[in-house]
C-alpha cells in the first residue's frame, strides 16, 4: 500500500509492501498522474484513493511514536503549523494555524537560499522579532537590514520569532515533541525555550500506518 504525506514543498512517501524506508520528493517533481492509496496533507484529495485529515494523522503518528501518556506534539510545515496535546493517553487539545502561521517553514527555507545561510552555523540570538506570519515577518528582516543589522543576524531573529510563536501556539509546554522538516534546522530547534524532542519528517506517514484503511487490510 502506498502512503503519502503531500506537503506543500515536499511529498513524503512510504510503500508498505517494500522494506525500504520512506522517501522524500520535492512536490514539484511529483509526476502529474501520481496517486497514493492513502494520503494526507495539501493536495491529498486530488492524489489519493482515500484521505486522512492532517491533524488526525499527526495525532495517530504521535501515539505510535511517543510512549508517554501526556505529550504535546507540534508539526511545523512549510505552509502551516498544527499541534495535538494528549493527556492520560487521550486527545486533550489541538490547534491548526494556516492563517497566522502561514508560510513560516517556507519562508525560513527561502531565506536560507536567498542569503546563502547555513543555519547550523548561525548562533541563537538573544532576542527575536515578533513574528506571527512568515510573509509579514519578511518585512522585519528587510527593515533590520536597512537599519544596519547583518543579514545573518536579522534572519536569526526572524527564526527565533517564528519558533517562539510556534511554542506559544502549542500552549507553551515544558517539553515539546517536534515533527516536520524544521526538526532538521538546528537554529530553529535551539530557539525554543523548552526541551525539544525532534521526531523528524515522517510522523504523519506513521499516522497513516495507523489509519483504519491501512489496519483493516
Amino acid at each position: 500500500m502506498l502512503l503519502a504525506d503531500f506537503g506543500t514543498s515536499y511529498c513524503k512517501l512510504l510503500d508498505t509492501a517494500q522494506n525500504a524506508g520512506p522517501q522524500i520528493i520535492p512536490a514539484r517533481e511529483l509526476p502529474r498522474d501520481f496517486q497514493a492509496d492513502i494520503g494526507t496533507g495539501h493536495n491529498a484529495k486530488r492524489r489519493s484513493t482515500s484521505t486522512v485529515n492532517e491533524l488526525t494523522a499527526l495525532a495517530r503518528g504521535g501515539r505510535r511514536l511517543i510512549s508517554e501518556p501526556d505529550f504535546t506534539l507540534l508539526d511545523c510545515g512549510s505552509r502551516d503549523i498544527k499541534f495535538v496535546r494528549f493527556k492520560n493517553g487521550e486527545m486533550a487539545d489541538m490547534g491548526w494555524n494556516a492563517e497566522c502561521g502561514a508560510s513560516m517553514g517556507f519562508t525560513i527555507e527561502l531565506l536560507a537560499q536567498y542569503y546563502r545561510l547555513d543555519y547550523a552555523a548561525v548562533p541563537v540570538p538573544e532576542s527575536g522579532f515578533s513574528v506571527t506570519c512568515g510573509v509579514l515577518g519578511l518585512s522585519s528582516i528587510f527593515d533590520a537590514v536597512a537599519a544596519g543589522s547583518s543579514e545573518l543576524e536579522a534572519a536569526a531573529k526572524f527564526v527565533r520569532g517564528i519558533a517562539r510563536n510556534a511554542f506559544r501556539f502549542a500552549g507553551s509546554p515544558e517539553r515539546l515533541h517536534l515533527s516536520g522538516g524544521l526538526c532538521d534546522n538546528p537554529l530553529f530547534t535551539a530557539c525554543f525555550p523548552c526541551e525539544i524532542v525532534p521526531l523528524g519528517r515522517f510522523v504523519l506517514l506513521e499516522g497513516l500506518r495507523a489509519s483504519p484503511q491501512e489496519s483493516f487490510r
Binding site: 486522512v52 485529515n53 488526525t56 495525532a59 489541538m94 490547534g95 491548526w96 495507523a210 489509519s211 483504519p212
Partner: protein, 262 residues
Amino acid sequence: MNGIPMNSSQAMHNKIGIVGVPPLEIIRQLNEAQAIIVDLDEPQLFLPIDQSDQYLPRVYCAILRTVLLNALNLRLERIYVDVGPGKCDCALHVAAVLKDILSIPVVATRNTDTQSFGFPVCQSSLPLIEKMRRITKGVQSCQPWPQLPSCPPTAGFWGVPPRDFSILAPFPDSTHIYGWTRCMENKTPADLELESYCNPAVPTVFFAQSFCAKTALAKHLAARHPKALWVDCDVSAGSSARAKIEAFLELSGVLGGGRAAG
C-alpha cells in the same frame, strides 16, 4: 417590550427586516399583520461582503457586516434590531449606524422575554444544518414548536448560528445544540444561564464568530469542558477550521475512524 407597535395595515405584505431575536410581542404583531419577515443576520444577497466596508470596519463581526449589506440593498419597510442582553453591544452600535444611513425606521428593541418555548430541535436527530435552519427560521414565528422526538447526544455544538453553515457539515445527526442558538429556539435570547449550559458528557465544539464578545465565553467554557474544541470563524469557514472540527470529532471517537490509538 419596547419599540414601535404596528397596525396590520402598516405591515400587510411589507418586508420587515429583523436582526437577532426581537421580543415575542413584535413578532406576534408582524405575524398578525402577515408581514414578510426577512432575517438580516443571514446572507440574503450574492454581494461581496466588502461592500459593508464603507460603514463598518473590515475587522468586525461578519454577521453584522451581513446585516448592513442586507439593509442597504433590500427594499425594506422597517427594521427591528434587537440590542442589549439578548444580542450584543455591537448590534446596538450597528443599529445607530443604520438609523443614520437609512431612510426607513430602524427600531432598537431589548428582548428580555422569559417565557420558555423549549428546544426540541436542538435535541432532535435532524442533520445539524437542518436543525440550524429550522431554529433561525423559527425566530420569525410566535408559535410554539411542533413536537420532535429527541435523541441521545453523541456530540455538542455550542454557539451562535455561524455565518457559514458549512462548518456544521462534519457533525453527526446526533449532535445537540447548546449556547445562544438554544436560547434562540427557546425564545429567551437573554438567558445567560441557558446560554452557558453545556453537556460535559459529550465532546463539544465551542464556536463563536470572530470579533464577537461571545468568543470570551466560548473559550472559557471550552477550557472547563473535559473534551472541547474552541473555534472561531469570520466570513466563511476556512479549510483549517473545518479540518480542525473534523479531526476533533474523529479523535474524540464521535466520527468513524475512532480514537488515535497507537
